[in-house]
Amino acid sequence: MKQKSIGFIAADIIYILMMTLPFLAAIVLKVLTTPLSDGVEITGARIFFTIPMPIQDLLVTEAQINSLCVMIALFGLCLFLTHGLRTRDISVRQHLAEWIVEKVDKLVNDSMGNYFMNFAPFIIAILGLSAFSSFTCLLGLFPPTSDINIVAGWAILVFILITYNKLKCGPVHYLKGFTEPVAFLAPINFISEFATPISMAFRHYGNVLSGSVISVLIATALQGLSNLLLGWLPGFLGEIPFLQVGLPAVLSIYFDVFSGGLQAFIFAMLTMMYVSDGFPMEEYFARKKAKEDKKSTLKQKTEVN
């Protein structure tokens, strides 16, 4: 094993701090700002402060802050994984980085085709951001994905990408796409077009939120049950909700880890599917080829002249 230089270790420590400190800060913030209450509360994100803006005030909420933390952590993770890349004797972290890149490349290639290979980093970003946003509730933080605004932002970006790819053959071809297969279905096609981002946003948001809601409900119910069954214990022992040990953890594994990961995967898969389905591949390449042929014939003509 080669001796690592001090600079290398220092950089590693900075990256690891980048991955951990934001979450620590968010936890501290959460603990400081959450009032003590024992009632069942199912609310959105906590609003830290409001910045006046035109149209609508900008609310800086827990979801925004946590989302930012996840971004910083993911950035740190990227730097950490790609720190000290080599072509031989590769480290464990490089194995992981290569595994991620190769897997996502394969996924994109399989579901979108070779033309869309530059979507791979976007898919990595969306998978990472979505999954780790859902995982933040493992730390007791508010998961940004259970805020509709966060997920709607991503869905709108995906919608922009879909429309951009559909417009690659010109607006006429794009509008003509609405009249297929039959012309009178155009309004329905139009609605379904705009339903795509909404459905994506609500699917993701609803899954994560419902998980949180069920977790809270069961935790509260268990507390009540505990009070009822074990309330006779003397002193403060009676106030400890013993029944809350165990079951919420198992549910958290399902709702937070499994469901969060699954929703991230679904969101990424839907993105790839919609974008590649929307892209008029055959038409695009036919036009491209026609253009090139025209160009070459023009060239030949000018050469003849």
Binding site: I47, I148, G153
Partner: protein, 168 residues
């Protein structure tokens, strides 16, 4: 401080959330996706380079092997030819040496014969000279004295004796 309602739509919050996702997308692209892709590509390139190098080395090795095999058979032929030529040269040399030796021997023999002939001639010359000397001496003595028959006879005898003595 109060809470939001469970469902409350706020335009600015939606816009901020949208912007957040865009920003996170850019961050992920810049700091995770691109670097990892780059490293993967680099590794791919390195592997390609190594594969080509290995292929080249293999080709080279095969070529070398063929060359060595060809060289080996060539060397065998060469060795055969070298041995053959060496044997021939040796044969030729030995023949030449033998011929030379024979020639030399003949020359020596001839020389010896010549020498012997010369010697014999020399000896004959010497005898002749002596005879002349003796005869001249004899004639001197004959001229010096009145020769009678007896004397003459005695003289000849003594002379012959003298010669005989001289010859002994």
């Amino acid at each position: 401080m109060q809470n939001l309602d469970v469902i409350s739509v706020n335009l600015w919050q939606i816009l901020i959330s949208l912007a957040n996702l865009v920003i996170l997308f850019l961050l992920v692209k810049k700091f995770l996706y691109k670097p990892v892709k780059k490293v993967l590509k680099q590794r791919q390139d390195e592997i390609e380079v190594q594969y080509t190098a290995a292929k080249q080395a293999e080709d080279q090795a095969l070529k070398n092997k063929e060359q060595y095999e060809a060289k080996l058979t060539g060397a065998k032929d060469e060795a055969d030819s070298i041995i053959k030529t060496a044997a021939e040269t040796a044969k030729r040399r030995s023949e030449a040496i033998a011929a030379e030796a024979e020639e030399k021997a003949t020359r020596i023999l001839r020389q010896a014969e010549q020498d012997a002939a010369l010697e014999r001639e020399k000896a004959a010359d010497g005898i002749k000279k002596e005879i002349i000397e003796v005869s001249s001496e004899l004639s001197k003595k004959l001229i010096e004295r009145e020769i009678n028959t007896d004397d003459h006879k005695a003289l000849i005898d003594s002379f012959i004796e003298e010669i005989g003595e001289g010859n002994e």
